[in-house]
């Protein structure tokens, strides 16, 4: 019995289960635009864009007009924001939690990579995202040789 448990958050829905329970169903075939390029913005700009452009709290880094416009363009055709968190019980090897966060946009999938105070939104194929998801589930030992 696996000690690994996944928590999936998709929009306002949340589910907990094993990979056997269908976590992979968050993914469907999505086109990968050859023209898509990584986008790196302030985390606060992404938070504001996902919140519908609400102003950031006083003192938080303020997104530039360019960042706001780039995110508006990316999200204009609609999007689904999901996040998978792997939790491991303390009785196993103590790897702890790990997570994968994705924006499924009209222009394809974007893997979110956090580099505080910035976040990179990297274009990714569904295969690349699934490989990351499988690596998250299998853990570092079984993921040796993993490719993305």
């Amino acid at each position: 019995m696996s000690a690994r448990e996944l928590e999936v958050r998709r929009e306002d829905r949340r589910a907990v289960g094993r990979v056997e329970d269908g976590v992979a169903r968050v993914l469907v075939p999505r086109p990968l635009s050859p023209a898509a390029a990584p986008l790196r913005v302030l985390e606060s700009a992404l938070v504001a864009a996902l919140a519908g452009g609400e102003p950031e709290p006083v003192g938080a880094p303020q997104p530039t007009a360019w960042e706001a416009e780039a995110l508006r363009g990316l999200l204009a055709a609609g999007y689904v924001h999901w996040r998978v968190e792997m939790r491991e019980s303390a009785s196993t090897d103590g790897v702890g939690g790990a997570e994968l966060e994705v924006l499924d946009t009209g222009g394809g999938l974007r893997l979110l990579g956090f580099h505080p105070p910035e976040v990179e939104l990297a274009p990714a194929s569904a295969t690349a995202v699934f490989r990351r998801l499988a690596a998250l589930v299998s853990g570092p030992k079984r993921s040796e040789g993993a490719t993305g």
């Binding site: 094993r18 990979v19 075939p29 295969t127 699934f130 589930v137 299998s138 040789g145």
Partner: protein, 143 residues
């Protein structure tokens, strides 16, 4: 290290990745299995098709058959791919077998009235380590 495998009747060959070995050989297919555990396999299959068969139809029919046979079958990705220098299609899918999450990656090619399918299958927990092995096997596939 890998060895070259050539089917004695069907016209195809591919490099057998080091941990895999020939398990079964039939007139229209070869099954290569991971030696340590038989639950990771590479299967190459050849089927005769009508002259007007189309690649998309070959892929559709294959995926529909799998959806009928496998529990929780779900297609994750479907993309153009090059196999043996020709235009093919690659699919990635997920299903459950005996309570275990399984991943199935397939490459399909249509050539000279034949449909060629290379299928890499393994427990999802092993897929991160085997994805590159499956990629390499597909890259080595020749007719």
């Amino acid at each position: 290290m890998s060895e070259r495998y050539a089917h004695p009747h069907a016209r195809f060959s591919l490099s057998v990745p080091a941990p895999f070995a020939l398990l079964e050989e039939e007139p229209d297919r070869a099954v290569l299995a991971l030696e340590a555990a038989g639950d990771a396999t590479l299967i190459a299959t050849v089927e005769a098709l009508p002259a007007d068969a189309r690649l998309a139809e070959l892929a559709d029919a294959g995926l529909e058959a799998l959806a009928r046979e496998l529990v929780g079958f779900h297609v994750l990705d479907r993309t153009p791919a090059v196999l043996d220098g020709q235009r093919g299609v690659r699919t990635l899918a997920h299903h459950v077998a005996e309570g275990r999450a399984m991943t199935l990656e397939q490459w399909r090619l249509l050539a000279d009235g034949q449909g060629l399918t290379l299928s890499g299958s393994c427990p999802t927990l092993d897929y991160p380590a085997l994805a590159a092995v499956f990629d390499a096997a597909a890259g080595s596939f020749r007719r």
